[in-house]
Point group: C2
Chain length 213, copies 2
């Protein structure tokens, strides 16, 4: 798209996908604070003809809880507009008939309520934070290494994120740990996996060849 | 050394370096059990003219405790003959004027008693097992990412080891996690690092060009 000028691109825009943490709000122990101007920016986008979706690798809460938090901050946003890794993972698991062993944050477990989990044949890890104990990681490892065809899904591949008290390790670090332990390559669900953005484009009805970064 | 026959090699042998876990004994919750024939084999080697040393990546105990365990199993072995990563790490830290933040098993901490640890400028990880909590790994990560020149030492690079109740994740997995988080490459101390074996050869007075695997 190098031949197209920025002005022409803007004129032909059909929709916008917004990142959230670090773009709309900054994370923090109190749930975070909106970045100045961002509430108004979302309002203006909504008043335009542009289609609007939100993308996050948030895997410490269900979308419902996450969206409620953003609404409290003043954002006009609904659950159906938000794309996060957990629902995408659920869709993939069902498509492929996979039963996950979960190592995810307690608050995101409900997203997997209707997924068969007995006798697991894959492992799904998310940003489990404190739940990334030695014992829990070892249990996930034992499931994975015991599979004839080990399948590991990682909800994102982030290294770390910033909170009020400093930097915190993200799910990608534990993905690397399990990849090394079991000689596997994880399938990443969430940003920056192209498949993840494709689902958002599909939902907006925009062909991928019309997408810009 | 392809031109040298095995028989000639044996005749010219000056010493033997023995691995320990999985060679002399099998690990287990009760401290492990000697592998049949191994106590006698060590006895025969000791009765020969061969120099004898022992090599282990054991980092869940001080050498003193570890050797006492093997003596209880019936092995003729003394502390000065055993090479493990922790004392090698202490030597390197002192050589390079480094002050470690330690993430190692409680039982191996005493090996580092005489090492300056305030205001750390490197991180040392060992097989910390249950101590590999999210919080402890995050603390080590914060130290490392906060350094202008991050230095990470890993006491071994093992993926996992077998105990009575199943497989357990080893230090290498957490090494990979921190390497990814901080974009660094760890310096491995212990098997299979050549530097580690070199120290054993030095102690035996055997030039490295005479070494066989």
């Amino acid at each position: 798209m190098a031949a197209t000028s920025w002005e022409d691109s803007v004129k032909s825009l059909k929709g916008v996908i917004l990142d959230m943490c670090g773009v709309l709000y900054d994370a923090g122990e109190d749930g975070g604070t909106p970045i100045p101007g961002s509430v108004e920016a979302v309002k203006r986008l909504r008043a335009s003809d542009l289609k609007l979706r939100f993308c996050t690798n948030e895997t410490q809460a269900t979308r419902e809880k996450f969206v409620a938090k953003l609404q409290r901050m003043g954002f006009e946003i609904s659950v159906s507009e938000v794309f996060s890794p957990a629902p995408a993972a659920v869709a993939i698991l069902k498509e492929r008939g996979l039963r996950p062993h979960l190592l995810v944050h307690d608050d995101v477990v409900p997203e997997f309520d209707h997924v068969e989990k007995t006798n697991p044949n894959c492992v799904v890890i998310g940003d489990a934070a404190e739940k990334f104990s030695y014992q829990n990681l070892n249990t996930a490892f034992r499931v994975l290494i015991g599979l004839e065809d080990p399948v590991l899904f990682s909800l994102g591949r982030g290294k770390y994120y910033k909170e009020d008290d400093g930097l915190n390790l993200d799910v990608g670090v534990y993905m690397k740990a399990l990849e090394y332990a079991c000689d596997v390559e994880a399938e990443v669900i969430g940003k920056p996996a192209p498949m993840f953005f494709q689902k958002v484009l599909d939902d907006m009805g925009i062909p991928s060849h019309e997408a810009h970064r």
